[in-house]
């Protein structure tokens, strides 16, 4: 049975494993063929930055890993507008070009339409 699931990722990519856990949960959800959307907000925005050089700290790069999402049919990506603005970033700084920018009011609407919400 298809459930509508929203995965919220709101932590910076490195320094702890929260962002990686969110990514792994997204891939697992996709494999079970669920209707998955991903929302990046707060410091989670930094996961989407271009040209991360994670090899310098012996980590895998979120620039690379998140680019694989289309191959898992994860294509409903949302980015919180205020989080983006607070960090002085624009969509051009990010690796996703097909993501939907949403404001706080639109996020409430997004949350209201889910069966489950996973927050990381």
């Amino acid at each position: 049975m298809h459930k509508k699931i929203l995965l919220i990722s709101r932590h910076a990519p490195y320094g702890n494993s929260i962002a990686k856990d969110a990514f792994d949960a997204a891939l697992a959800t996709a494999i079970y063929d669920q209707d998955l959307s991903m929302l990046f907000m707060d410091d989670g925005i930094f996961q989407l930055l271009r040209d991360q050089q994670a090899q310098e700290i012996s980590q895998k790069s979120f620039t690379s890993m998140l680019s694989a999402l289309p191959f898992y049919d994860i294509d409903k990506l949302y980015i919180h507008q205020e989080s983006l603005e607070q960090r002085g970033l624009t969509i051009e700084n990010l690796i996703v070009d097909n993501a939907t920018i949403v404001n706080s009011a639109q996020i409430s609407n997004l949350l209201n339409h889910q069966d489950h919400i996973l927050s990381f």
Binding site: D24, L27, A28, A30, I31, K60, S61, S64, M65, S67, A68, P70, F71, Y72, D73
Partner: protein, 110 residues
């Protein structure tokens, strides 16, 4: 754990996946494939190198769905099918082919 190829001892994890891709070469691939009862043909090598390209680009080993989609994109719809990959790398293409290609075990792979 380790395997021995050309008198060289190579570290592998508990499921037989190479610890370091740097130690991979075609002899290693042939040896791992033999342990899986697979004789590597040109069609196998095509997928093995494809997987290594995927890993280079995305830094993860693809699960089955992603492998099928990537194969379809790179090699066309004839080869981008579960059944084609299943014939080459039974019984679990993503897991077996990643092992032969010297990559980590795909996460979340059923």
């Amino acid at each position: 754990m380790h395997i021995i190829v050309n008198n060289q001892q190579l570290a592998v994890d508990k499921d037989g996946y190479l610890e370091s891709l740097q130690q991979w070469n075609t002899d290693v691939a042939t040896e791992i494939a033999q342990n899986e009862n697979i004789q590597l043909s040109a069609a196998h090598w095509e997928i093995i190198y494809l997987l290594q390209d995927f890993y280079k680009e995305f830094e993860i080993s693809p699960a089955m769905r992603a492998l099928v989609k990537y194969t379809e994109k790179k090699l066309g719809p004839e080869k981008g099918k579960s059944i084609y990959l299943l014939q080459l790398f039974p019984p679990s293409p993503a897991k077996i082919a990643s092992k032969i290609a010297g990559l980590p075990r795909p996460a979340n792979c059923l």
